[in-house]
């Protein structure tokens, strides 16, 4: 076991030395890998922010439940109890007097409200479901509409469906990009390692003659691919963080112009670790493919 570990340590050190030995080649390869990973990573982060924006935008993915104007306090309490029993949604009660006061505060509506002989508004509940998928929202809307003394249940289902379809399209595009650029990363690693195998041909030949196993010869190349991929992943994370930092100011100003506030969410440590791990995995795969093909010339 100690020998096995010692050989892995030696292979890792050798891979590191090979990375450092050709700084310009390494830098160029890292740039290619970093940019290849940045595009899908940035797409993923952008979609995540868009979903967040959609959820936080006023009225979006909320259901408004209006009580019958003839509903008593007992009826309202019954609905409140039923909503509390629905664990998949949060809700806020808006009493009819409160709703009228809000209308009175509005410049355009104040005059009209003042001319009304009595409060025409019903008691209402604003329901915020946890599951914001269009199908789940529609099911909940239908359930709420069937409750007693509920006059109307409003859900902008068309907007929700459009938004959901847009997010699904975005996700698919990001997945396609990730697949495409992931294959690119494998190809870059494949070629880098193929050149390395050619450059190390003398060492490989001698090592084989004096008793090196295939695993011993392959190991440094695998580590090289994984290291290169991992560093490319880290570079991609840094590029995404940099881009988000640059965009955060203008996005905040834009949100303020619409009377709201929005902060771009940057990838967290787990996202960065995943991106690095993904880069390492793809690099390892590229290394494995390349070494398997390149070493055939020595058989």
């Amino acid at each position: 076991m100690r020998r096995w570990l010692s050989q892995h340590r030696a292979a890792f050190r050798l891979a590191l030395r090979r990375l450092v030995a050709t700084p310009l080649n390494t830098l160029l390869s890292l740039l290619v890998i970093g940019i290849a990973l940045t595009l899908p990573a940035f797409g993923y982060v952008a979609l995540d922010n868009l979903r967040e924006l959609g959820q936080s935008a006023s009225g979006v993915q909320q259901i408004s439940l209006f009580m019958d104007t003839a509903a008593t306090k007992k009826d309202v309490a019954e609905i409140e109890n039923r909503l509390r029993a629905v664990s998949t949604a949060k809700f806020t009660f808006v009493p009819r007097d409160e709703a009228l006061k809000r209308l009175q505060k509005s410049d355009e509506m104040a005059e009209i409200v003042a001319s009304l002989p009595r409060n025409p508004l019903p008691d209402a509940f604003i329901v915020e479901p946890v599951n914001t998928g269009p199908e789940a929202l529609e099911v909940l809307r239908q359930e709420l509409a069937g409750w007693p003394k509920v006059a109307h249940v409003q859900l902008d289902s068309a907007w929700v469906k459009r938004f959901d379809a847009f997010l699904r399209l975005g996700k698919l595009a990001v997945l396609l990009l990730a697949g495409l650029f992931g294959a690119g990363l494998v190809a870059v690693t494949f070629n880098t390692i193929r050149l390395q195998v050619m450059a190390q041909a003398a060492e490989i030949e001698v090592a084989r003659m004096i008793g090196a196993t295939d695993a011993f010869i392959r190991r440094p190349f695998y580590y090289f691919g994984a290291l290169q991929g991992a560093l490319g992943g880290l570079l991609a994370a840094a590029l995404v963080l940099g881009a988000l930092h640059l965009l955060s100011g203008p996005v905040g100003e834009l949100a303020a112009l619409y009377g709201g506030s929005f902060v771009l969410h940057a990838p967290d440590a787990i996202d960065v670790a995943l991106l690095t791990g993904l880069g390492a995995l793809l690099g390892w795969i590229g290394g494995q493919l390349s070494v398997s093909l390149s070493l055939r010339q020595f058989d």
């Binding site: 020998r3 004096i210 008793g211 196993t213």
Partner: protein
């Protein structure tokens, strides 16, 4: 102990480099394989080192039948041999010490032990003072001694050499011969393929003479 029975190596195209060869080399013996260029000396050394596989016949080294060896077992068998090649096969992208460390790294020894044993081997061949030198900066004789240090560092039971004194002057060749005799005296089996008659004159070992792949 090396025992060959009706050993034949046929290359693609039908050329028999070694034909129906049988011999026995006792443990701790020194044997010279001689013959003209193309007689099959190098092929026979490669067969013993399991660098080549025999086409037919059997070859048993230290009780292990190399002819029936699985491919995955070959690297472990090769570690029992110290190989010295005609062109030395030194690595010019690293120091003399790093060259000698390679077989120990392959065997999976710790870094400290690898350095210690590699330095001891360099000391044995008189190159410790040049441990940091790149092999390209060494003379032909020094390069051959470096190749010997790499061959013996893993304490092999059999030392195999293919034309170890080709392209060396007489003094350097004599030094190499002395080194082989030293290793043989401590119990290492030494097999040397050479067309250099001075080996036959100065060496007290047995001689296997090959001609067109056959022992004559």
């Amino acid at each position: 102990m090396i025992v060959a029975n009706n050993l034949t190596k046929r290359y693609p195209g039908g050329f028999d480099a070694v034909r129906d060869v049988s011999f026995q080399i006792g443990a701790g013996h020194m044997v010279l394989i001689t013959g003209h260029s193309g007689a099959g000396k190098t092929t026979l050394v490669k067969l013993i080192a399991s660098i080549e596989r025999p086409t037919s016949g059997s070859l048993v080294v230290n009780g292990q039948n190399l002819s029936a060896l699985r491919r995955s077992a070959i690297p472990y068998v090769r570690r029992h041999f110290g190989m010295i090649f005609q062109d030395q096969k030194l690595l010019f992208d690293r120091s003399a010490l790093d060259n000698v460390m390679l077989p120990l790294q392959i065997a999976g020894l710790s870094h400290r032990e690898t350095v210690r044993r590699a330095q001891a081997a360099l000391d044995k061949v008189g190159l410790l003072a040049r441990e940091k030198a790149n092999p390209i900066a060494l003379s032909g004789g020094e390069q051959q001694r470096l190749a010997i240090a790499r061959a013996v560092v893993n304490r092999p039971t059999v030392l195999l050499a293919d034309e170890p004194t080709a392209n060396l002057d007489n003094d350097s060749a004599h030094d190499i011969l002395e080194l082989f005799a030293d290793f043989n005296q401590v119990g290492v089996t030494v097999v040397v393929a050479t067309h250099d008659q001075s080996w036959v004159e100065h060496c007290r070992g047995n001689v296997l003479r090959l001609d067109h792949g056959r022992i004559v």
